[in-house]
């Protein structure tokens, strides 16, 4: 620590160059390791093609759900440059509310009715979940984030962690520790068999609904006046406000949109995993964040594709690498770390990266 400033500067640049070399070498090593592992272990197991296809389809379904949650992260990050750490919990609230709506519908016997009734009831359940999520998301913005909008960056993050814990443990106190299990109505509990590949109806429905919701969001953002306002605020908040955009309203709408998507994802994840509990939003939330980073945070199509890619990797990864499926969370986190090391702007680039560089 006694080197002169000039020397230290030189050392700093040397250090950076060395770091670059080091990360490159590390990257090459990881690629070789993965390829070696896949070819020697994963493919050597000799699973049939149908196994890979059904795993991939599973991955796409999960990816669709992650995409809906990831969009919430990306939307908020694009506008406020903050990570809404509690977004996973917003999703979980949607799932829990959806569960109770489902229970209500089942108690009323709507789930055994003719198929139009069931479809309407299911849609209603999803809307109720979305509404609950929107309520929580907007409250969160109002109470935990808005007062901190000018605070240093880490202060809202800590507040968000607090909010995330608060939501989780409030749900724990109200609804208990044990998981609530979704009972699928008979209409959607079966599946489609194509040769050796089995596609559950719920999976197909989830994927279709996710895509529809994503298209709707894309339409809102690209084609409506509101979307234009959102893009303007994301680009430059102060200029947008000078142009007559109500920045606060746009931020609230952003939270509403993100939370609505998360609520839908929560309900659908409930049907897919069949259980929800107080902490069932946490890991999917982290994974959706990973997906958002994978696609380049702030980049809306990036989040969608990033999520689908993450879903695929998570579904295929363990079998391809020949490791137990308990490690699928490890794969997701490792992927997050690797992306941030090698390509911090994500696969498709941060939309706003040049502005903030």
């Amino acid at each position: 620590m006694t080197s002169s400033p000039v020397k230290a500067q030189a050392a700093g640049t040397d250090g950076r160059a060395a770091m670059k070399q080091f990360t490159r070498a590390l990257g090459a090593a990881i690629v070789i390791l993965v390829v070696w592992r896949v070819t020697t272990v994963g493919l050597a197991e000799g699973y049939p093609a149908s196994f890979w296809i059904s795993q991939a389809l599973n991955g796409l379904v999960l990816g669709g759900v992650y995409a809906l949650v990831a969009l919430g992260y990306t939307l908020v990050y694009g506008i406020l440059f903050m990570i809404n750490f509690a977004h996973g919990e917003v999703m979980m609230i949607g799932g829990i509310t959806g569960f109770f709506a489902l229970q209500f519908a089942q108690a009323r016997g709507w789930m055994e009715g003719p198929w139009p009734v069931v479809v309407v009831a299911l849609l209603l359940i999803m809307f109720i979940g979305m509404a609950a999520s929107v309520l929580i998301g907007v409250t969160l913005e109002r109470l935990a984030y808005r007062p901190l909008r000018q605070a240093p960056r880490l202060v809202p993050l800590i507040s968000a962690i607090g909010a995330s814990l608060f939501l989780q443990y409030s749900v724990l106190l109200i609804f208990g520790v044990s998981p609530h299990s979704y009972r699928k109505p008979a209409l959607i509990s079966g599946g489609l068999r194509l040769g050796d590949v089995f596609i559950p109806y719920t999976g197909a429905i989830i994927f279709v609904i996710s895509i529809l919701l994503m298209l709707a969001l894309y339409f809102i953002i690209q084609r409506t006046k509101l979307g234009r306002a959102m893009r303007a605020v994301a680009e430059d908040r102060s200029t947008a406000s000078l142009m007559g955009v109500d920045v606060n309203a746009v931020i609230v709408v952003t939270f509403m949109l993100g939370s609505a998507l998360a609520g839908a994802a929560g309900v659908m994840l409930g049907f897919h995993n069949t259980v929800v509990k107080f902490n069932s939003g946490f890991i999917p939330g982290l994974k959706a964040f990973t997906a958002a980073v994978l696609g380049g945070i702030g980049n809306i199509p990036g989040a969608m594709f990033g999520a689908l890619i993450l879903g695929l990797i998570e579904a295929i990864g363990p079998s391809a690498l020949g490791i137990p499926t308990e490690y699928k969370d490890v794969i997701a986190f490792t992927l997050l770390v690797l992306i941030l090391i090698f390509r911090p702007t994500g696969l498709f680039g941060e939309v706003l990266s040049e502005k903030r560089a």
Binding site: M1, S3, V6, A8, G12, G15, M19, L26, F81, M82, F100, Q103, F104, A107, R142, L143, P147, L148, R149, Q150, P152, R153, L154, V155, L157, I158, S159, I161, G162, A163, L165, F166, Y169, S170, L172, L173, I174, F175, G176, V177, H180, R237, S238, S241, V247, L286, F289, V293, P324, E326, Y327, V330, T334, L336, L340, I341, P344, L352, R356, A357
Partner: protein, 631 residues
């Protein structure tokens, strides 16, 4: 009624509801039973009164963060010129809003709260009346709560036998509370006289005699408490009847905390030195006079003090938000476990047999294992540090969080190495020259007391090292790096080395803490090392005051010690504490006992700009996204 006061009244109602829903959440109505609703209404009335009184005096204006437009400036209670952000100061100081009678305001607030309570209990009651089981297994607390709120029995709710009148009564009750509060506030409107009284009183209180007396009392308090605790420990002495152990624990926590304040009250120089030495002696006697339970709690508190001090180096000094700090804690604990447990895991045992060592006997004692655990943790710190060198603040937080989870998942799933969820059992206890202190002191020092003593000594050592580091060249480099990495680098701070040293030193302390924790627990399992350890450690330094060692001790006492006193309400700990975290960030982001030198440790350079230039607040708000590390 002008729109502005109407929205403010509604806002008051909303905040009151938020507080009430917290009380409902932690099950207060269910415990009170029948009179729950009037009690809640009274609490709401108290809250309304506080707000309305303030409005009627008109001296303070709430610029608190909750429900304020961001253009109005910094959160917090502000007086005087600052308050006139969107109105003249004169108007603020007028005795009241002449336009709106207080009663109307109170009514609006009350009706808002009442409606919300009615809606929430109505939704729950409808759901339960329609066969929805809120809690699958323990379907007890929620129905009791809701029933108490509505004023019926849980059975009636289950049969959906609740008349609409009940909800109307709720609304009316809260509306009444609002009116009551307004009437009381209006009655006390002749404030000047009272103000003069309290003003004189406070002037008197701050007079030189009283002040020095208070100072003396403050310094003496911890010693008095300590003597009382020791006296309580004598056989045959009881305090307040039955629950003596908890009372003593609470007193111990207060004594330790008040010791910190006593130090602050001292004049610098000889007085401070003498008091510090006496306090040190007093604290060291604690392990000898407390019993096993109290010692184990205090041991945990001081293990977390070590964690907090270590994390403080990473977060407080170097400004790197690390949410995966538990990883190093776990590494320290598992390293010691491998080295000292008779049978740690199949893999380790076979390795030992391969090396010709009997796996039955511990490999290394506590003291020999200490450098190993510290070194392993430090290596872990560097290994984590290298990949995240380039990451910015919030990305760093998420990646470190991911690392923490990865370590836990490995511990859980690498059964061959770590024994998986079955954990590692019978970790040996620290000895002193081959003797156990319990034997040496003839049982005066319990085994947990010995751990507490070790934790005390270690955390004092860690605090000393951290303090020296803070003042050193390295500490200044950390501070510079935290302020602005680019400028720091330009002025000759070697960023890579400085960051890695922060991670390594922080990890070393966590490793020490982890080793002691393993010794304290005797058996360790992967679930001891969940994300919550990281969050607890982070929270205690934030609550206590980031960058300030005394604040960290205080934070640990409050967050790890108090929940043990409040046993039984432990399940509400996380909820309470999470809410506090949010409120703390809004109201007082620099902690209870902030470090004098670094007012805001988490600050970005933009903070200074935002402070000096309130008018352009909104325009500057995107400045927080402006500064990034170059990628």
């Amino acid at each position: 009624m002008p729109l502005e006061s109407a929205t403010r009244a509604v806002r008051t109602g909303l905040i009151a509801f938020a507080f009430l829903s917290y009380l409902i959440l932690i099950g207060i109505p269910g415990r009170i039973g029948g009179p729950a609703l009037p009690v809640l209404a009274l609490i709401a009335a108290l809250f309304f009164w506080l707000i309305l009184r303030r409005e009627s005096i008109g001296q303070f204006r709430q610029v608190s963060g909750v429900g304020q437009d961001s253009s109005e400036g910094k959160p917090g209670w502000e007086i005087g010129p600052q308050a006139g952000a969107n109105g003249s100061r004169v108007r603020e100081l007028l005795p009241s809003r002449f336009g709106t009678p207080l009663v109307l305001k109170g009514l609006v607030s009350g009706v808002t709260t009442g409606l919300l309570v009615a809606i929430v209990s109505g939704i729950f009651a409808t759901a339960m009346g329609n066969g929805v089981a809120i809690q699958p297994v323990l379907d007890k607390i929620v129905p009791l709560n809701i029933a108490a709120l509505i004023g019926v029995s849980p059975g009636q709710i289950a049969q959906s036998d609740v008349s609409f009148i009940r909800f109307l009564v709720q609304v009316l009750l809260f509306a009444g509370a609002g009116i009551l509060a307004a009437l009381v506030a209006a009655a006390g409107r002749n404030e000047p006289a009272q103000n003069a009284l309290t003003g004189r009183l406070s002037a008197h209180l701050s007079g030189p005699t009283i002040r020095s007396g208070g100072r003396f009392a403050g310094i003496a308090l911890p010693f008095v408490l300590l003597v009382y605790i020791a006296w309580l420990g004598l056989p045959g002495v009881t305090a307040f009847g039955t629950n003596e152990g908890t009372v003593r624990l609470l007193l111990t926590l207060i004594a330790t905390g008040s010791g910190l304040f006593a130090l602050r009250l001292c004049r610098p120089g000889r007085e401070k030195l003498v008091v510090a030495v006496l306090l040190g002696l007093g604290v060291v006697t604690m392990p000898f006079i407390l019993d096993q339970f109290q010692n184990s709690v205090m041991g945990l508190v001081f293990i977390f003090v070590m964690m907090g001090l270590g994390l403080n180096i990473v977060v407080g000094y170097a400004g790197l938000l690390d949410l995966g700090y538990v990883a190093f804690f776990a590494i320290g604990a598992y390293t010691y476990a491998f080295l000292s447990a008779p049978f740690s895991s199949p893999y380790i045992s076979s390795l030992l047999i391969l090396l010709g060592i009997s796996p039955e006997s511990p490999l290394l004692g506590y003291w020999m294992a200490l450098p190993v655990a510290m070194l392993t943790a430090a290596v872990g710190g560097v290994l984590l540090g290298i990949p995240v060198l380039r990451l910015r603040g919030d990305y760093l937080a998420i990646v470190t969080l991911g690392f923490g989870e990865i370590i836990r998942l490995f511990m859980l799933n690498l059964g061959e190495l770590t024994n998986g969820p079955r954990g590692i059992l019978e970790i040996s206890q620290p000895a002193l020259f081959g003797l156990t202190p319990v034997d040496v002191t003839f049982g005066l020092l319990s085994s947990q007391g010995w751990i507490f003593l070790l934790a005390l000594v270690s955390s004092a050592l860690v605090a000393f090292i951290a303090n020296r580091l803070n003042g050193s060249r390295l500490g200044r480099a950390w501070f510079a790096m935290q302020e602005d990495e680019d400028v720091a680098e330009a002025t000759g701070v070697h960023l890579v080395r400085t960051k890695l040293l922060a991670f390594a030193i922080g990890a070393t302390f966590a490793g020490m803490a982890g080793q002691l924790y393993a010794a304290r627990q005797i058996n360790i399992f992967p679930e001891n090392f969940s994300l919550f350890v990281s969050i607890d450690a982070l929270a205690l330094i934030i609550v206590g005051g980031i960058g300030s060692p005394a604040g960290i001790v205080l934070g640990a006492l409050a967050l790890k010690g108090l929940p043990e006193v409040l046993r039984g309400v432990d399940e509400y700990r996380i909820v309470t504490f999470a809410a506090l975290l949010v409120i703390m960030m809004i109201v007082r982001p620099d902690g209870i006992l902030p470090s004098p030198r670094r007012r805001i440790q988490l600050a970005d350079p933009e903070e200074a700009v935002g402070d000096s230039d309130q008018e352009t607040g909104e325009a500057l708000a995107d400045g927080d996204g402006g500064k990034e590390e170059d990628q």
